[in-house]
Amino acid sequence: MTRYVLNRVALGLVVLVGLAIATFLIIHLVPGDPVRQALGAQAGPEQIEQVRDQLGLNDPLPAQFWQYFSNSATGQFGDSFVQNTPVGDLVGDRIAPTALLIGYGLLVAFLIGVPLAILAALKPNSAVDHAARLVATFSFAMPLFWLGLVLALLFGLELDIFPVSGYETGVGGILKTLTLPAVTIGLALTVIVLRTLRSGLLEVMQSDYIDAARARGLSERRIVAKHAMRNAVMPTLTIMAIQVGFLISSAVVIEQVFQIPGLGSLLVESVERRDYEVVQTLVLLAGATVVFVNIAADILQAALDPRVRLAGR
C-alpha cells in the first residue's frame, strides 16, 4: 500500500510540474500584453516598460519561469499589481464559498443520484430507468448558467423560497444562499452518478458472488447495500474524480449567476481587471486541485479494493 501511494504521489508531482510549465507557457506565449491591457490606452510606452521591468516581464523566459516556479512551489504568489494586495490574501478570502458550494453540490448529486441509480439498476427498463435516461439526455444539453437562472426564477422569484443572489455565512446562511446554486450544480452531476453507478450495479448484480449471496439466503437489501455496492461504486469514484474539472468550471459560472463571492467570481473579475497574476495563480490552483483529487481518488480506490493496490506486483 505504501509503495502504491508513493508511486501515485510521485506521478502526481510530475503532472503538477507539467501543469506549472503549461500555465507559464500559455500565459507568456499567447499574443497580447497584459500590462498594456491593464494600463489602458492612455499609458505611454515608457510607463508600460517601467511596469514590465518591475514585474520582471523583460527578463529572459527561462529566468522568468524559474522565478514563477520557485515562488509557486513555496506558496509566494506575489502581489497583484492592479490591486496592490498579496495574491495569496485575495485567493484566501474567496476560497470558503467555492469549497462549500462544490461540497454541497456533490452532496446533492449523491443524495439524488445514488437512490435513483439503485432503483434504475434493480429494475432495468422500468419507468424510473426510462425517466432517468430522459433526464440524462436533457441535462447533457443544458447550459448550467441557464438552468441556474430558470431555478432562480421558479424557486427564488415566483415561489420566493430562496434569495436569488448573495452569500451569507453560518449554517443557516449557507442553507439559505447556497441551496439553489448547489442544486444547479448537483443536478448536472446527478446524471453522471446515475449513469455510472447504474451500469456498475447492473454488471455486478450479474456476477457469481451475488448469486452465491442469494443462495446463502441474504436479504436483497443486504446484498445490494453490503455486497454489490462495494464493487459497483468503483467506476463512479473514478468518474467523479475526473469530473472535478467540470465542478470547478461550473462553480465559475454558477457563482456569477447567483453573485457568490468565491474564487470563480474572483477569476472573472480578475480577467476584467486584467489582473493576470491573480488569473495565473487561480489557473494553477484549479489544475493542482484536479491533480490532488485524482491522487486521493486513486488512493481511496486502492484502500477499498486490494486488486488495485496489488496490481503490477
Binding site: V30, Q37, A141, P143, E272, R274, Y276
Partner: protein, 291 residues
C-alpha cells in the same frame, strides 16, 4: 471490417454501422437529426428568416411578452429576442465549427504519430496530452482570454490549444491497436515510409471515431462558448450571441422572464438533438466516453 477488429477495438470507441444499422436508423436518431438539421438550417438562413433586424431598437415596444409578432418577446430596448437568438445561434455555431474542427486533424495526426512510434515519443506526447486534459478546460480558456482581452479572439485561440488533446487520446489508443494489424505490418514489409504508412494507411482508419466524437464535442464547445458570452468574456456587444443575450436578460428576470429563458431553449434543443443521435447510434456508449 473483420470480426477481429471489432474485438480489439478499445473501450469507449463506437461500433461502425454494420448491416443491421444500415437498414433503418432508430427513431431517436431520426428525431435528433431533424432537430439538429432544422437548427443548423435556421442558423444558416438567419438573415432570410429572422423577422426583424437583430440590433434594431424600438422604444415603443420594450419588454413585450411573447406573441405572434414577437415569438420570444422583445427585450428592454425593444429588440426582437427571436431574431437576436437566431443570429446568436448563427454566430455560436460558426465559432463552434471552427474551434472543433481545427484541433481535430491536429489531434488525430499527433495521436497516430505517437501510437505509431510508441516508447519515448509516445510517452512524452501522452504526458503532454494528460496535462492538457487535467486542466479544467473552461478555466484554461478564461486564462487565455485574460491575455488576449475579452472577445472572440481568445476563444478562437484558447479552445484549440486545449481541444486537440481529446482527439489525440482517441487516435492514439486506436493506433496502438491498428499498428498490430496485418495490413499495417505489411506497410513495413513493403518498405513504405512511415509518413506514407501513417497518412495513407492509418489516418483513413482513424478519423471516423474522431468525427463521431466531434459531434458531442461541438455541444460541449457550444455550451462553453455560451457560458463565456454569459460571463461577458466571449462575443462583445453589439453582436448577438446566445450567452450574452441571456446575461442581458437576467436583470429583468422578474419583469420580463422571456429574455433570459427562451433563447436558452435553442441551446437545449441542439444538445438534445445531438444526444438523441449519439444515444441511438451507440446505445449510450458514446456519451460515457465523454464523461
Amino acid at each position: 471490417m473483420s470480426t477481429s477488429e471489432a474485438a480489439t477495438r478499445p473501450l469507449g470507441a463506437v461500433a461502425r454501422p454494420g448491416r443491421r444499422a444500415r437498414s433503418r436508423p432508430a427513431t431517436p436518431v431520426i428525431v435528433g437529426a431533424v432537430i439538429v438539421g432544422l437548427l443548423a438550417l435556421a442558423a444558416l438562413l438567419a438573415p432570410l428568416i429572422a423577422p426583424y433586424d437583430p440590433n434594431e431598437v424600438d422604444f415603443l415596444h420594450t419588454s413585450e411578452s411573447p406573441s405572434w409578432s414577437h415569438l420570444m418577446g422583445t427585450d428592454d430596448a425593444g429588440r426582437d429576442v427571436f431574431s437576436r437568438s437566431l443570429y446568436g445561434l448563427r454566430l455560436d455555431l460558426a465559432i463552434v465549427l471552427f474551434v472543433t474542427y481545427v484541433p481535430l486533424p491536429i489531434g488525430v495526426l499527433l495521436g497516430s504519430i505517437a501510437g505509431s512510434f510508441g516508447r519515448g515519443v509516445d510517452s512524452v506526447m501522452a504526458r503532454v496530452a494528460d496535462v492538457m486534459l487535467a486542466f479544467p478546460f473552461f478555466v484554461l480558456v478564461i486564462a487565455i482570454i485574460a491575455i488576449t482581452g475579452p472577445g472572440l479572439k481568445g476563444v478562437l485561440i484558447g479552445v484549440p490549444i486545449a481541444g486537440w488533446a481529446l482527439y489525440f487520446r482517441l487516435a492514439r489508443s486506436e493506433m496502438l491497436v491498428l499498428r498490430e494489424q496485418p495490413f499495417m505490418l505489411a506497410t513495413t514489409g513493403l518498405g513504405y515510409s512511415r509518413t506514407r504508412a501513417i497518412l495513407r494507411h492509418a489516418v483513413p482508419n482513424l478519423w471516423r471515431t474522431a468525427l463521431i466524437y466531434s459531434t458531442l464535442d461541438m455541444v460541449v464547445n457550444l455550451l462553453l462558448l455560451a457560458s463565456l458570452g454569459y460571463l461577458g468574456l466571449g462575443a462583445q456587444p453589439p453582436d448577438a450571441e446566445l450567452g450574452s443575450i441571456i446575461a442581458g436578460g437576467q436583470p429583468y428576470l422578474l419583469s420580463a422572464w422571456w429574455i433570459a429563458t427562451l433563447p436558452g431553449l435553442l441551446l437545449v434543443a441542439y444538445g438534445v438533438g445531438v444526444g438523441l443521435i449519439g444515444d441511438g447510434l451507440s446505445d449510450g456508449r458514446l456519451r460515457s466516453a465523454s464523461a
